[in-house]
């Protein structure tokens, strides 16, 4: 993936003031247009030419204001548990339109024929200006224009409160204003509807000043939580179509096996089952789910595959990455933060560190395996019913697979288990398989992966390692910092069923691939220690492990996962900074504060220092021990900037040297997203991310041998349970002077790992530069 990160200083683009908008702004209203039709020629408006799509240039494709004063909003972003579309989006629109939260009665999300903009279920707050905010801001101006005309009062003499426009002693509600007419407004858009980022609304309409927010900042509840808890929500798993067949897929024996012969259904046992073979894709369909499961097992036992051993296996993974992977295939990416002359500064350092840090493959591991229902109609129209982070991208992939156009593909979006990034490029695994099987049998087909399919045939978060060199000068300051990140391509969006069936897909990741399909390893972790004079950060990319060797072109497919790329880069950086502080004989929080210049970074560090009860001193603690069967305690810190939000965390652990077992006892996180849109929802997101982070740090490691993934269930891939939950303190720093809001549902999962590793060093005096910190690995380190 090239890069999705932003430079910290450019997080929020310039916006026009209300006055400037009035001057330039008539351009955005049809009938007074200066640039309307011409502007829309290029990319913009392209989506409007597809059937089964909304015209994104029409305001009603985004926001409907009804005569009864209720409001409906539409967004391509499906909810995956963040709750943003049901809470933050309502709040943002309510404030931009000057209506109440409750006035926004309906949120339409995800489905490709009912939403205008596409893009993935990530970055919901869109660097402070998600599409829906701009759509609301444009709509507000159009409503004021309409009211001005209707009331005969100049626009600048109007004010709006709770959906009622007043001025010159007269007033009218939005509902009465819009009765029987369309707003005179064209929404300018740019982008690729089925690309990972979808369409983006252009221009800079005036936004509501922060001081006038009435709805943003309050803890509104998520409506979808109520319907899920009461068993009233229709999930993707609940979709049942007339005549629908249940299916299971018999996946190949290895990640490089091709089909020799498919097994036959034992008709005496499974009279209604049928085997479908398309290339190397073997499916079994049956009228009932239980018959499909049993028949698929029976067919699998009779299916023959070629053998393949083309993977290094866990034990040789890092040796393979270091010595055999082709890092020269892909241009090196250099960070914008690079400055000074690192070489001589490293050379002349008073104290030096040279170290390598390793992260393992991790699974997204949704709590429900991927599933989808597909209905390929006789006229070629394809309906897909699924839970997917990017329905428009899925639509594009299915159209490509079938050699048809977007007009013929409709993706209906439903709730489902969190995917944590796995389907943000348009597929989670079962969707394309369901389409292929439905087309073959001429009926709707429901493909449900079993737990082992989901562990062994899905993508994973990419492995990586980083080489760090740094130097401390005689004054205890960091004089030079250099890091080289090595990571195979982290986003393979090829639908696996299409790959197995030999149908058209996008290219596998390669050096010439555009944006996310590139093997380039972009710098994802914004540098936050501006006080260091000599800095070099480089990203080295290559092909996925096994991608070229596998006869199926499969291998270990990777996919962005929560805090993608940045986790792989922030863990080595932050652990190295902890080591640098120790080398300097300095306190790890104070050392960071002394090297940061950004007051928001310093702010979260100070907040977490206070809330965690941190005692200022260098690590390791004076009485650190690495032997014995008595638990020893330590603490560590980490810092991150992501999507306009600053994060710091402190973990306090107890580790038992004789067993290597680490227990996180206390976990404090401070978050400064700028404006806190919804404190309750943000707090819940942060807590959840924090808990996931404990799993990443301590347990999660995908295991594989020379043929494929051996991790196949929850015993083989443990995640945190309630027993692992420490005392968690979340400090939300509402910082309105920032003037905008950053994201909050990522980053928290990445903070724990470097902080826990630093805490292990603090407690024992030994540094573990590898994730996860499983007891056996910790035990081995402490014994060494």
């Amino acid at each position: 993936m090239a890069t999705m990160s932003e430079k910290p200083q450019n997080v929020f683009g310039p916006t026009l003031s209300r006055r400037q908008f009035v001057k330039a702004g008539g351009a955005l209203v049809v009938g007074f247009s200066l640039v309307g039709p011409e502007f829309l020629k290029g990319d913009a408006g392209k989506a409007a030419t597809f059937k089964n799509s909304l015209d994104p240039t029409l305001p009603s494709s985004w926001i409907e204001i009804h005569p009864d004063n209720t409001v409906l909003i539409r967004t391509g972003k499906s909810d995956f548990g963040q709750g943003s579309t049901f809470t933050a989006y309502r709040q943002i629109v309510a404030d931009e339109l000057s209506v109440t939260f409750e006035a926004i009665t309906t949120v339409v999300a995800g489905s490709t024929d009912q939403t205008p903009d596409g893009s993935g279920a990530f970055d919901f707050l869109g660097r402070g200006t998600p599409n829906i905010r701009k759509a609301a801001a444009y709509t507000y101006q159009a409503l004021l224009d309409l009211a001005s005309e209707k009331l005969g009062v100049p626009k600048d003499k109007l004010s709006v409160k709770e959906g009622v426009v007043s001025g010159g002693g007269k007033s009218i509600s939005y509902g009465d204003l819009v009765k029987g007419q369309q707003l005179k407004l064209t929404i300018p858009v740019r982008g690729d509807l089925t690309g990972i980022m979808g369409l983006t609304i252009e221009g800079n309409p005036p936004m509501k000043p922060v001081g006038e927010y009435k709805v943003i900042g309050k803890s509104f509840k998520s409506s979808v939580i109520s319907s899920k808890v009461a068993a009233k929500e229709t999930w993707a798993t609940d979709v049942r179509l007339p005549g629908m067949l249940h299916a299971r897929v018999v996946h190949p024996k290895t990640l490089g096996s091709t089909l020799v012969s498919a097994g036959q259904v034992d008709k005496s046992k499974f009279p209604n089952s049928q085997v479908i073979v398309k290339g190397n894709l073997v499916g079994v369909v049956a009228p009932t789910e239980w018959e499909a499961i049993q028949a698929a097992e029976q067919v699998a036992s009779g299916t023959k595959w070629t053998e393949w051993k083309g993977l290094p296996g866990n034990a040789k993974l890092y040796q393979h990455l270091r010595e055999e992977a082709d890092w020269t295939s892909t241009p090196v990416v250099k960070s914008d933060a690079a400055k000074g002359d690192v070489g001589p500064a490293l050379e002349s350092g008073h104290r030096k560190l040279s170290a390598t840090y390793q992260l393992s493959y991790m699974k997204h591991a949704p709590i429900g395996p991927t599933m989808a229902v597909a209905d390929v109609k006789a006229d070629g129209t394809v309906h897909i019913y699924a839970h997917n982070q990017n329905p428009q991208a899925l639509r594009g992939e299915i159209a490509m697979m079938l050699g048809t156009t977007l007009d013929h593909v409709i993706v209906h979006a439903y709730p489902g288990p969190g995917h944590y990034g796995r389907s943000n490029g348009g597929n989670a695994g079962a969707e394309d398989e369901a389409v292929i099987l439905s087309q073959a049998v001429g009926k709707p087909v429901r493909v449900q992966w079993m737990r082992a399919d989901d562990m062994q045939w899905s993508t994973q978060s990419s492995v990586s390692f980083s080489d760090v060199q740094l130097a401390i000068d005689k004054q205890g300051k960091m004089a030079a910092y250099q890091i080289d990140h090595y990571m195979p391509a982290m986003q393979d969006d090829r639908p696996i069923g299409a790959v197995l069936a030999g149908l058209p897909t996008m290219q596998a990741p390669n050096p010439k691939g555009a944006f996310v399909s590139s093997t380039a390893n972009g710098i994802e972790d914004p540098w936050v220690y501006a006080g260091v004079s000599n800095v070099m950060e480089r990203g080295h990319g290559t092909f996925q492990v096994g991608q070229k060797a596998s006869p199926l072109a499969v291998g270990l497919r990777d996919h962005s996962m929560r805090t993608p790329g940045q986790f792989q880069q922030n863990y080595p950086r932050e652990l190295a900074i902890n080591e640098a502080a120790a080398l300097a004989g300095a306190d790890a929080i104070q050392f960071r504060i002394d090297h940061a210049t950004d007051e928001r970074a310093i702010g979260v560090l100070k907040a977490v220092r206070e809330s965690s009860g941190w005692d200022t001193r260098p690590s390791p603690r004076p009485d650190a021990v690495s032997t014995g069967s008595t638990a020893v305690r330590g603490r560590g810190v980490s810092l991150m900037l992501r999507s306009g939000t600053y994060w710091a965390c402190v973990c306090q652990i107890a580790v038992t040297p004789s067993t290597g077992a680490i227990v996180v006892e206390k976990y404090a996180i401070a978050v400064d997203p700028g404006i806190v849109v919804n404190p309750m929802q943000l707090k819940r997101n942060v807590e959840g991310g924090a808990v996931m982070g404990i799993g990443h740090a301590l347990f999660e490691e995908m295991m594989f041998d020379e043929s494929g993934i051996t991790t196949d269930d929850w015993l083989a891939y443990p995640i945190p349970t309630m027993a692992d939950i420490p005392e968690i303190k979340v400090v939300l720093l509402h910082n309105p002077k920032v003037g905008s809001y950053g994201g909050g549902s990522e980053a928290a999962n990445a903070l724990a790992a470097p902080a826990i590793a630093a805490a292990l060093h603090d407690a024992t005096g030994k540094i573990m530069r590898r994730l996860p910190m499983k007891p056996a690995y910790v035990q081995a380190l402490l014994k060494a």
Partner: protein, 173 residues
């Protein structure tokens, strides 16, 4: 043919005896609270109450629960109404205190595991109306055939919601 009692209603189902209860509930009886998470009794997403005890419907053959009282997420409000002797009119508008607390604490994120979490909470609170934090952790980790797993990491919210539900239940409605 197997006859089972679900949420107080006797239901005749055509499924073979060895069909896991989960598929009968979801596909034959349209009770969609329980979810398929692993099919291995390792996660708890499919949990139901069988005679008041949490059971994993993904590995429970339907014939094995004939004659026993099965309660799904859909049946929690009626279960509470019956326990409290609420009128039919009151019952219609009442969620189980566990469900109320889950909403008030904004517990779910994706929510896929929360069926099992609410079933486990109901089992716990029916036997222990005022559990300590340690008892809550024990219930959700070692009391069943496996821990109840949440990939979104909502355990803090679950612990707070269980305590909140206990308060609502103590008040009686």
């Amino acid at each position: 043919m197997v006859t089972i009692t679900v949420n107080g209603v006797r239901r005749e189902v055509q499924a073979p005896d060895d069909t896991p209860l989960l598929y009968v509930l979801r596909n034959d009886l349209q009770l969609i609270g329980p979810q398929f998470g692993c099919g291995l009794a390792q996660c708890g997403a499919c949990a139901v109450l069988v005679d008041g005890k949490e059971a994993r419907s993904c590995v429970t053959p339907v014939a094995g629960v004939a004659g026993q009282e099965i309660t799904t997420l859909e049946g929690l409000p009626a279960r509470w109404a019956k326990q409290k002797g609420l009128s039919a009119e009151e019952a219609k508008n009442t969620l189980h205190p566990v469900q109320q607390a889950w909403i008030e604490e904004q517990t779910p994120q994706c929510g896929f595991c929360q069926n099992g979490m609410m079933i486990k909470a109901t089992e716990l609170l029916e036997s222990n109306p005022h559990p300590t934090l340690a008892q809550i952790k024990e219930a959700f980790t070692t009391s069943g055939v496996s821990p109840n797993l949440c990939r979104c990491g909502t355990y803090v919210a679950i612990m707070e919601a269980v305590q909140h539900a206990a308060t609502i239940m103590a008040k009686g409605r």
